[in-house]
């Protein structure tokens, strides 16, 4: 169902969970109001609701994995650009095994894969590079080498979907390492420049948002399952 901002959506459910684009509205029969235009989705049992939108700019929300660029150091941590309206802060102690004496040393310009631990409309977002319960890194931390690609937010969500064809299909062809941030950034490392470029181009070609301004006239169509093999062969990496 397509919704516009300000509509009341989502049914009353004892265990209601609201995802992106929805806010809780106690006045509206204890359900939710939309704050984005897009397609409204819900889970089978009507407990989880969210809105899927086309967008290129990231709005941070808690518990999301993002890729950030360190762009400043502060007394007790780093300032990180995550593509949102404000820089995020990353505490130097928010890493696996970090102590006051043994802190990681990130250079300005390094890439970090982190989770948003705090997202509040009146405060700068905060990041952390470990799991709050286990204090293990869980794959978060500095990303060394490789290449970072920027794409639409929807493409990032698609890449995180286990049923999406692209990454498994590429993985069949050659080994690669990928970190997907939901802020429109994807880090790729396939050890070889040619292959890394091939992965970047596949993701770009697959992006449903082809940056066309007028509809109806698309310069090329998004890449499909059957097209991947040919596309890789064209680039001479398959």
């Amino acid at each position: 169902m397509i919704v516009f901002p300000g509509q009341s959506a989502a049914q009353n459910h004892p265990n209601l969970k609201l995802g992106p684009g929805l806010v809780h509205a106690p006045s509206e029969n204890n359900s939710a109001i939309t704050k984005k235009a897009g397609v409204l989705h819900h889970s089978q049992n009507n407990a989880r609701w969210w809105i899927d939108t086309h967008s290129r700019r990231y709005v941070s929300s808690a518990q999301e994995s993002v890729i950030g660029i360190v762009n400043g150091k502060t007394a007790d941590g780093y300032r990180v650009d995550i593509g949102a309206a404000h820089n995020a802060t990353l505490d130097a102690l928010a890493f696996e095994g970090a102590t006051k004496r043994n802190k990681p040393n990130l250079k300005i310009g390094s890439l970090v894969y982190a989770r948003v631990s705090l997202a509040h409309k009146d405060m700068d977002p905060e990041l952390e590079c470990f799991d709050a319960q286990s204090h293990k890194s869980e794959g978060f931390g500095e990303l060394k080498g490789g290449f970072m690609l920027r794409c639409s937010l929807q493409m990032c969500r698609l890449l995180l979907d286990p049923s999406h064809f692209l990454l498994p299909r590429l993985g069949q062809k050659f080994p690669l390492e990928v970190a997907v941030g939901v802020n429109g950034r994807v880090w790729i490392d396939a050890k070889d420049s040619r292959k890394t470029i091939a992965v970047a181009r596949c993701i770009e070609a697959c992006d449903p948002d082809q940056y066309g301004i007028t509809s109806g006239r698309r310069s090329r169509l998004p890449l499909t399952v059957d097209g991947v093999g040919n596309f890789l062969a064209e680039m001479d990496v398959a």
Binding site: N71, L111, S193
Partner: protein, 294 residues
């Protein structure tokens, strides 16, 4: 907010790939993104795109009093604007360095290169002349906005037609397009702009003097443009006449490097010129057909 500088992995990967003659979008070092040209319903309205870089240009004309010093010449003014829509780093009300460069280059290429015959814009000497106003708006920035904006601008001038006017004594009659066919502008030539980015040669081989030639690419993407050690923009027409050559700082270039740039630009200018002429001819054919159907 200042534009965030590219991260270390991005920089290292790009420079590493370029030293192997690989570009991230899969192009060859001297390969242009093919420009896509679209015309609007009105004459003089054009949208142009180089890959994901988009620009819109439109021309309008009105009748004004000429400057006292130049009573026989029409006026041309160019406005360009990079809206925050193009990229997060542009803000309204604060002009970025890029915007200043683009505006000045557009002025040099389109106005001061004398592409448009200003005297043909005169209606009544000292009293009435045409004032052409070109507006270029950048909608999306994926690198090389200058070339895109310049191409959109020149095509808009070529596409535009002004209403026919008749002068009887001191009286000026402007005929509406339905009455008399509008008249195309008289253009002397079609200047086209090409931007090249330079990179320092890989440091590992600096010992041998033969490989000290800088790496050269045409039509840089946003990332390539930001990491470049120098940019050179050259504006010329298909007749090999150079209008503007612009190099703002960056690594020093030898005369042989510059000659190479010019050689490539000449070839590209011919290609793009053909493409532009074809697009204009196709659009004109379409317009004719719709008139006949009525």
């Amino acid at each position: 907010m200042r534009p965030p500088s590219p991260s270390i992995p991005e920089r290292e990967f790009l420079l590493e790939s370029l030293s192997q003659s690989l570009r991230i979008d899969g192009r060859l070092p001297l390969e242009l993104r093919t420009p896509v040209i679209q015309f609007g319903p009105e004459l003089g309205w054009v949208q142009c795109s180089y890959g994901k870089t988009h620009a819109i240009a439109y021309v309008d004309a009105k009748i004004v009093k000429p400057e006292a010093a130049r009573p026989f010449e029409g006026l041309i003014s160019i406005n360009s604007e990079i809206s925050p829509m193009a990229s997060t780093e542009y803000e309204t009300g604060r002009t970025s360095d890029e915007e200043v460069t683009v505006t000045r280059m557009l002025d040099k290429i389109l106005r001061r290169s004398d592409a448009i015959d200003k005297e043909s814009l005169c209606i009544l000497a000292g009293k009435r002349v045409w004032h052409l106003r070109l507006t270029v708006q950048f909608l999306a920035d994926s690198g090389n906005m200058l070339d895109c904006g310049c191409l959109a601008g020149i095509i808009a001038f070529k596409h535009f037609r002004r209403p026919d006017v008749e002068v009887i004594g001191d009286e000026v009659i402007v005929h509406s397009p339905s009455e008399r066919a509008p008249i195309p502008l008289s253009l002397h030539h079609t200047p086209l702009c090409f931007t090249f980015a330079f990179y320092r040669p890989p440091t590992a081989t600096t010992t041998s003097s033969s490989s000290s030639e800088p790496i050269l690419i045409i039509d840089p993407s946003q990332l390539e443009q930001r990491l470049a050690a120098g940019l050179v923009s050259i504006a010329l027409n298909a007749q090999k006449e150079i209008c503007v050559l612009n190099k703002l700082g960056g690594v020093p270039l030898g005369p042989e490097d510059l000659l190479r740039v010019i050689e490539v630009a000449v070839e590209k200018a011919r290609e793009v010129d053909k493409l532009v002429e074809k697009a204009l001819a196709d659009d004109w054919e379409e317009r004719k057909a719709t008139v006949e159907l009525r």
